[in-house]
């Protein structure tokens, strides 16, 4: 086993930070670490926190961390912000609102740029969750901007998704109801002391009611909460809801099933990439040239490219 993997398993902060850097940079050493720590993952409760810019997500995450620490749990935070598609640069400022946890050894905060991925997450976000999981963080919070259907990736990644809304952003709510509002196990109206709270609440209650009409018996019933994160209000209720959802996931077997589905998705994505690049490095290269020259149609080319694989699969 490599030194970094062993140190990650021992919970060493610098090693975990380095492993995440490798994964983020697509350095092959990152994947080597993942292979070695994999057996120690699958324990952490991954909580997604998403909502429009200005909803107070970072402040709410800060409150969440405080409440989790009060319960003695170790917490990892991945704060994902957009990378500029023009320059590849990013300004990642979510730590600013989490300053009070800077010296708490039970809290690990990492800022990540989306690095060219759409959907509000970077390619390495889930891998970073695995690293924090292997380091022994019991709760991993992934914070990301989300305003519509594109940002639904967080729902696939997290066990529990918390959608943050705010009063008075009528248009945003309209945009969200088309996408994110269909998902999310917990909805929080932050800045609930603001004008328009009652209206937003009624609106979200209606949405949840409509969502509920197709819910199978025994399925999780989404919760609607209120918070004023800057004053520390609503944190205990939020943790209670998260814990209730975690208990639901465990009792229903959904926690293990989700982990299996995520593994499956990763396996398929990796296998797809590996198969394709292996094929294209070999017999596929001239075929690709023909496709570019339009001297063969793409459908026949794909058939030809994969014919040996299918023949092999039939034999075995």
């Amino acid at each position: 086993m490599t030194d970094v993997a062993a140190e990650v398993l021992a919970g060493k902060v610098a090693a975990g930070a380095r492993a995440i850097r490798w994964l983020d940079d697509r350095d092959p050493r990152g994947r080597a670490v993942l292979r070695e720590i994999f057996a120690a993952t699958g324990r952490a409760h991954i909580v997604g926190v998403t909502g429009p810019p200005g909803a107070g997500k970072s402040t709410l995450v800060d409150l969440l961390v405080t409440e989790e620490r009060r319960r003695g749990r170790r917490v990892g935070v991945l704060a994902v912000d957009p990378t500029s598609p023009y320059t590849g640069g990013a300004i990642l400022g979510d730590r600013v609102r989490m300053g009070r946890h800077a010296l708490d050894a039970g809290v690990f905060i990492r800022s990540m740029g989306t690095r060219g991925e759409s959907g509000g997450l970077s390619r390495a976000t889930y891998d970073a969750c695995l690293v924090l999981d292997a380091m022994g963080y019991e709760v991993v919070i992934v914070e990301t901007v989300g305003v519509g259907q594109e940002e639904i990736d967080i729902v696939a990644l997290a066990h529990t998704t918390v959608i943050v809304a705010v009063p008075g952003l009528g248009d945003e709510v309209q945009a969200m109801k088309a996408g994110l509002m269909e998902a999310g196990e917990i909805l929080v109206i932050n800045k609930a002391d603001r004008e328009g709270y009652e209206q937003t609440r009624r609106h979200l209650e209606l949405l949840l009611h409509l969502r509920g009409s197709n819910r199978p018996a025994g399925a999780w019933e989404p919760r609607l909460l209120a918070a004023v994160a800057t004053r520390g209000e609503g944190g205990a209720e939020l943790i209670a809801a998260l814990d209730a959802h975690r208990a639901y996931l465990d009792a229903s077997g959904e926690f293990a099933r989700q982990a299996g589905r995520r593994s499956e998705q990763q396996f398929l994505a990796l296998a797809r990439a590996a198969t394709l690049s292996a094929l294209l490095e070999g017999a596929g290269a001239p075929l690709l040239q023909q496709v570019r020259a339009r001297s063969i149609d793409p459908y026949s080319a794909a058939e030809l490219l994969t014919a040996p694989l299918r023949a092999q699969a039939r034999r075995s």
Partner: protein, 147 residues
């Protein structure tokens, strides 16, 4: 394995912070935007940070560069302290730079403490970008040589 691994991409990661009670943010904000435009990932930790908090953040974020903006007194103590904390925690390989209102007579002490470069008032952001790029190119070349 090579076929599976997508191309490695390694943007420079820079932590920008302010130590002490100073709350002047114009300079650090301008620098942050210049670095972002240059394709770097800039991590902000906010105002009124202690050297301990900045060192901890730099390690968790695994940045390559730590840049401190100082526009009030106190840098002759807090900056060397930050450098020492990073070394003690095994992160002495990070590039340390500072900028702001720092008198000429303090420069030797800060260099001695481990700050490679001090950008005094009025430095063009292009100079900062060029310096960091040059350092990064050398660092990457040195790592490639080692492997």
């Amino acid at each position: 394995m090579k076929a599976v691994s997508p191309v490695s991409v390694r943007p420079l990661r820079v932590l920008l912070a302010k130590l002490g009670m100073d709350t002047h943010t114009v300079g650090i904000t301008v620098v942050a935007h210049a670095l972002r435009e240059a394709g770097m990932e800039v991590i902000f930790t906010g105002l009124k940070q202690t050297p301990e908090a900045v060192a901890s953040a730099a390690i968790q974020e695994d940045v390559d560069v730590v840049g401190i903006s100082s526009l009030s007194a106190g840098h002759t103590r807090s900056l060397p302290r930050l450098a020492r904390l990073l070394r003690e925690q095994g992160s002495g390989e990070k590039l340390l730079v500072a900028g702001g209102v720092i008198p000429q007579e303090d420069l030797p002490l800060l260099h001695e403490a481990g700050f490679a470069r001090i950008f005094t008032m009025g430095t063009d952001t292009r100079e900062i970008v060029a310096y960091l790029r040059e350092w990064w190119a050398q660092r990457l070349a040195a790592e490639a040589h080692k492997q």
